[in-house]
Structure formats: structure tokens, C-alpha cells
Symmetry: C2
Subunit: 131 residues, 2 copies
DNA sequence: CCTTGACCCTCCAGTGGCTGGAAGCCCCAT
DNA sequence: ATGGGGCTTCCAGCCACTGGAGGGTCAAGG
């Protein structure tokens, strides 16, 4: 399978697939002309990676998850630990963003948004400690 | 004022302040010895930038907000437009993260997390379309 | 046989917003 | 004069790609 076909099946851009080879996540064979020749198993790995990335796992997490996926003797606890840690980080990020959103939406609500210069948004940024 | 003092007042690391000078957000004077000499107004700008960054505005947004802040004839509508756009992006990011969180928390909940290899997390990543 | 166009290759540079570290000057106290 | 802190510059690295240049390969149509 050429890279284009793999790209279509996995939804990953060719550039990304090449990058994943670069960093050692997949190791496709090569045809005589130098083209990458992906086996089925490689494509499944890439699909796996695509889904893990969609869930926000870092590349390093993906690398570990992939290794566990391939290890038939893995302990599900190891997988769960990675996912749990990642979940905690996502939750932290969400709550940080929610704080931003709350502050911002208040400011946007209170700003007239007309052609006058008076603006609570700038006033807050200029003086208060925006939390 | 030297960079260290400004750093303490604004909470921005010296490195960040130098970087902000690099990209033209502030233009401190220089002492005879080459040290940056910040005026009050510069420090206020940096404090403004710190707060805007805390609210998640991009550097480019910050640049524009700063210009509006300094423009006494600005229209608050311009400020509001930037903030509103940014708010929308934050909300999009939150909802994306919430989707991740929902999927992940289900998976984590359903995973035994013991020493057996059976694991719904890997199963999902390996086969389904993780949404 | 030649051309066209779609595919593929590698390599380099840039993104955003810093951050770390090296190498070196400046200033003050002991 | 020595030590320690602060300041300077410059270069490299982070993450996960992405864009683009410059070029090889392949199949179809004329």
C-alpha cells in the first residue's frame, strides 16, 4: 500500500505519516522505487495512532499505548494509568479554559461595543488582576 | 527599572519580557551599561500583556489590544470583536476537550485496571472510531 | 515516443510562545 | 581580588506537525 492509500484509510495526512515514520512509530518497507510500502498491520497502527491523537494523547503516550497494544501480556492497569493521567490533564485544561471563558464572557457582556472608547475589557486588562 | 524588578511587579519571567521586546511589544530604553531601563508605562504595558495572556489571548491579539488600549479614540466595538472571537475559540476548545473527556472517562471507568491484558481502552483505539 | 498530471521522495524552514543554557559583562560587598 | 548575583546576547529545543522547493516515478492519452 502506498502512502496515499494509507492516508485515505486512516484520515492522516501523508506528511503526518512520514513524520510518524521519522520518529519511529511505524517502520514501513520500501518498494524498489523508494516508495513506502505499508503492510496491513502498519495501517492499523496508524489508525490506532490517529484515534489516540483524536483523544488528545501525546505522541509519547501514543508510543506507550501502541507498545501495550502490541503486547499480548500487558496489564490493563498500565493502560488505565496512562489514560487516567491524561484524563486528569484534560480536566485541568477544561477548568482553566472555563475560568477564562467566565471572565471573558462577563467582560464581553459588559462592553457596549459601539464607537465610543469606553471599554470594560481594556479597563480590566489595564488595572485589575484578571483571574 | 531593571528587568528583574519589572519581572517581580508583573509576574512575567525576564526571559518572557526580553522576548516581548524582541517581537516589538515593548521598547525599553537602555542604560549606559546596556541594561534595559523600563519606564512605568512600559511596566504597565507588560502587566497588561500578562493579564491578556492569562485570558488566553494570542500574542497577535495582545498586540492589537495593546494598540487599542493606547488609542484614546478607539471604538469599544473593536475591542469587543477581538474578545468575542477569542471567546468563541475558547468555547470551541472547551467543547472539543469535553468530548475527549466524555469518551475517555467512559473508557477509564470500563477498564478493570488489573494485571490482566483485556482492556476496553485499547480495544476502542484499535477498532472503533473514537469520537 | 512524448507529454501531462498525479503521485511519491527528501530536506529545510517555520509555526507559537516561550524556555534552557552557554558564555560573558557589570556591580557591590567582603 | 573574589564571590555572587544580576544583566547581556545568541543559539537550541520544545510539540506535532505543515509548507514548500526541487526532483524522481508511473500510468494514461495523443
Amino acid at each position: 500500500m502506498n502512502i496515499g492509500e494509507v492516508s485515505q484509510h486512516t484520515g492522516l495526512p501523508p506528511k503526518t505519516i512520514r513524520y510518524y515514520e521519522d520518529i519511529g512509530l511505524v517502520k514501513p518497507l520500501r518498494d524498489a522505487n523508494g516508495y513506502r510500502a505499508f503492510r496491513e498491520s502498519e495501517m492499523h497502527k496508524l489508525a490506532f495512532l490517529g484515534r489516540a491523537r483524536t483523544l488528545g494523547f501525546s505522541i509519547e503516550d501514543c508510543r506507550n499505548l501502541l507498545a501495550l497494544w502490541e503486547d499480548k501480556n500487558r496489564a490493563s492497569a498500565d493502560v488505565r494509568a496512562i489514560a487516567k493521567e491524561h484524563l486528569a490533564q484534560i480536566e485541568a485544561k477544561i477548568s482553566g479554559l472555563q475560568d477564562m471563558r467566565d471572565t471573558l464572557s462577563t467582560l464581553v457582556r459588559d462592553c457596549a461595543g459601539d464607537d465610543r472608547p469606553d471599554c470594560p475589557i481594556l479597563k480590566t486588562l489595564g488595572t485589575a488582576t484578571a483571574s
